[in-house]
């Protein structure tokens, strides 16, 4: 049950859907410009929206795809799709959820494309895992603690990479993007209960990988 309590705790700590967020307001403004035919102005304002969400989107896409080039492409695809369909955006709903859904779909498309390529072409192993170990941030002065943190990061990172696709997606959105199960459900099309189950199972596996007794 400890896993479930952590799921609930994560949900309560995370921010809820906000349809008055800066991104939502900006998206509504861009939609208004696009609808009125001021496409050039809409494009300029869209640059601001990209700047606002870009880093968060890249974090999610990178953690899910584990490849910088793929993450870059997925995020680009997501933003282009958002602009092309901005007139379909509903202002009564939070823009972040809509955007996350598009981003998740773009990441899944990229993942499928990569899997298809790997089926025919043998590619060299990705070196991102090695780099990630080197880039673990540590504010502790003690080298012992830094080593411990690196070790823990390696363990968690390997365990997350070994998760099934859906659990990894739910876990990434929950832990990296700090989304609530309700937001994840909206973004992925799963029910909130299914999201909780995936998250619970993912945490249980990670708990096992870290050797934490629950």
């Amino acid at each position: 049950m400890a896993g479930r309590s952590l799921v609930d705790a994560g949900a309560s700590v995370s921010r809820g859907p906000d349809r008055h967020s800066p991104a939502s307001a900006l998206a509504a403004e861009i939609k208004g410009l696009a609808v009125s035919g001021a496409r050039e102005e809409a494009r300029e304002r869209f640059g601001a929206l990209v700047a606002l969400l870009q880093r968060r989107a890249l974090r999610v896409a990178f953690q899910y795809l584990r490849n910088a080039a793929d993450a870059d492409e997925a995020v680009q695809d997501a933003f282009v799709k958002v602009f092309q369909h901005i007139e379909q955006y509903r202002e009564d709903l939070p823009f972040d959820v809509w955007f996350t859904r598009i981003l998740v779909n773009a990441s899944l498309d990229r993942l499928k494309s990569r899997n298809r390529q790997q089926r025919f072409v043998s590619q060299p192993a990705d070196d991102t895992d090695d780099r990630s170990v080197e880039q673990v941030p540590s504010t502790d002065a003690s080298s012992e603690r830094r080593l411990l943190a690196r070790e823990r990061w390696e363990l968690v990172s390997r365990a997350v990479a070994a998760l099934p696709d859906r659990q990894r997606l739910v876990f990434t959105l929950s832990q990296v993007d700090e989304q609530t199960p309700a937001e994840i459900a909206q973004a992925t099309g799963m029910s909130a209960a299914t999201v909780r189950v995936h998250l619970f199972r993912a945490l249980r596996k990670l708990r096992g990988a870290l050797g934490v007794q629950g």
């Binding site: 309590s5 870009q54 974090r59 990178f62 880039q135 700090e178």
Partner: protein, 164 residues
């Protein structure tokens, strides 16, 4: 109870560490310069997607452009219809008895009349030969008066002729 709380704390700490490390890892791959470059590429893609239009295939001259499917169908339909009309008309002309007999007689008459009639009669039948008609009229008149018995033989020759 105490053990479970410790486990939760340990797990939460691990997740917190994971979150921080994951964000730092992604940020290390995408620094400010990379973000700016990506933003520019996104806006360029928007421009391209907005201005994109379909160009005709290079080197295909307009004169050799194939006829559209619709007009090709019309041409085929007209050819088939013409063929059918021709066949039906031909069959009708062949089947209709009145027309065919008349045509047959018309076609046969010149050759079949020649051996039956004498050269004189043939000459008489020609409406344009007025001197002959005049001659025959004169003969008829002479025969009817009975004054020229020497012309009887000539009359017998031409008696059977009935102009149509």
């Amino acid at each position: 109870m105490r053990r479970r709380e410790d486990a939760d704390v340990g797990m939460a700490a691990a997740l917190e560490a994971y979150r921080a490390a994951a964000c730092a890892e992604a940020d290390a791959h995408f620094d400010d310069h990379a973000l700016e470059a990506q933003r520019v590429r996104i806006l360029q893609r928007l421009d391209l997607s907005h201005k994109a239009r379909v160009l005709p295939f290079p080197g295909a001259p307009a004169a050799t452009r194939p006829v559209s499917t619709v007009s090709r169908r019309w041409i085929s339909a007209a050819a088939v219809a013409g063929l059918l009309i021709g066949l039906v008309t031909g069959q009708l002309l062949h089947v209709l008895p009145g027309d065919s007999v008349v045509n047959r007689q018309t076609a046969v008459r010149p050759s079949s009349l020649e051996p039956r009639t004498s050269p004189v009669a043939a000459r008489v039948s020609a409406p344009v030969v007025d001197p002959d008609n005049a001659l025959l009229d004169a003969i008829d008149l002479a025969v009817s008066r009975g004054g020229a018995s020497e012309l009887r033989a000539l009359h017998d020759l031409t008696f059977a002729y009935e102009p149509y």
